[in-house]
Amino acid sequence: MSTPALSDRPGLIEARPVRHPWRWVAVAVIAVIAAMMVSSFVTNGRWDFSLSAQIMIQQPVIDGLVRGTILGTVGAMIIGVSLGILMAIMRLSDNVVLHGVASVYTWFFRAIPRYVLLVIIGSGIGYLYNTLDVGVPFGKQIAALFGMSSTLTFGTIDVNGLTGTIVGGILGLGLSEAAYMAEIARAGILSVDKGQSEAAQALGMPDGKAMLRIILPQAMRVIVPPTGNETIAMVKDTSLLIAIPVIAELNYQTGAIANRIFKIMPGLVASTVWYLIVCSVLMVGQYYLERHFGRGFGQKKPKDKRFARAAGMGGA
């Protein structure tokens, strides 16, 4: 086949794009529905958005948002992520004892509904164990057996004072979260190529250090997106703190005000808007976290000449 003369060769492409008429139809339908909604917001006085805005900025609501919802989320996720990663490492360990403990933990805490768990912690634990003695295991029995005057107890913790507060709530949500995080972290650790731990081993790195410095940072790339999901779910699950009962929490506080003035819907709108705001902020945070742990994995191809061999420039 002969090569066509230079002037005959096709030049740059200027083609018409594919038309999408149905997209325009869809946009029109959505625009009409949106207009109807907005119109109802304005004309239907029961929405009462100005009241919602007022409820949002009431001091008890802000307090509940900060001390219950935000603090609860942060606390529960700190416990959940760190304990979850620990459980994942234990589950992947060769040590059968650690493996067993982690498996039972995950099995147990994944099976209990969070609401039930929080009721158990808030009401049940304090009823079963009023106080927690710190001392020698079975110290009282041993002391009785040998007729000692001491009970071998060094201190006593008031259990009710802890489980009935936000501390008990954070503990319950965190313990439950750790069971889910363990599975997420396990998937992340397993996603890291085996060659990475072998390279660390070959350099003489102890296992713990290899996990912390080589495996986990790479696993985080896989762990962070579902953890963002879990964090957002946790923001909403702090509304379960009422099971403890902890009332310094966003949804309870907006509800309390709304009930008092018989305006249920504006109260619910107020808490919905706050949840939207908090979750939006978290999504921005997640973006930066993903970018941090994604370093070195970018799609950026080097400007290396080996890769830049232009097509058609003729090889040897």
Binding site: G195, Q196, G204, K209, R213, I214, G296, P302, R306, G314
Partner: protein, 298 residues
Amino acid sequence: MMTPAAQDPGATGRQIGMPLVHAVNVMKAFDGNQVLKGIDLDVRKGQVVCLLGPSGSGKTTFLRCINQLETIDGGRIWVDGELMGYEDRAGTLHRLTSKAVAAQRREIGMVFQRFNLFPHKTTLENIMEAPIQVKGEKKDQARERAIALLARVGLADKPSAYPAQLSGGQQQRVAIARALAMGPKLMLFDEPTSALDPELVGEVLAVMRELAKEGTTMIVVTHEMSFAREVADHVVFMDGGVVVEEGEPKSVINNPQHDRTKSFLRRMQSEPQALEHVPETLQEAMIADTKRHPQEAE
């Protein structure tokens, strides 16, 4: 089989007068599949030994046994007079703790077929990681040495590149620098050029050739016959988990005695992409590469 001058495999403690690597009757099975059926190997200080053989012959497994990435079922391996993986207490072997095994590995550098660089760290951080974290070197000192090592493998201009931004040949050269940063007594290479595009093989082999010239003790599993012929002091041909033939490269490669060696070498020599000659220096490798691809030159 070269026999070392003085040795007593049964005795405890460090062995004097033993070759740097002294492996006796090494055996290894995976799920009942006997991969190594009693390998003997001696490597003296400064020697370059190439392990040749068809895939599945056990050469990579044997290499991994030397630095304990695989535990052996039988036989013994000593590196610099130290029994690998076990402590001999009055004739009874006690498995070493993972900490002690890690300490033994510090003396042995390893380069993998698939590079295994840490993708979340830059080239400089890859090289500095082990000296700082394992040896407890000061950061400034480690950085200085890492920069020198990068220059030595011809990548002085890439200290802050991530591995994904480098070509395969460049990644493998960083991996060599990373292993050298621990100042190992012995370097293990597990098919270091098998995952590379043919045009990138030369630059890695050139770096290895320069290491050999500097007197680095190396055990190299490879399919590059030119490297075995030109750089190795001793070649070992393995097949089916045993050493079939070994000796000087000239005699084994040019005049093989066993049929299995002969048929393997015939197959290797008919490889169309085989490198004819290992570049003497990295510079030579780069010039050869530009000659092959003149359009890349500016």
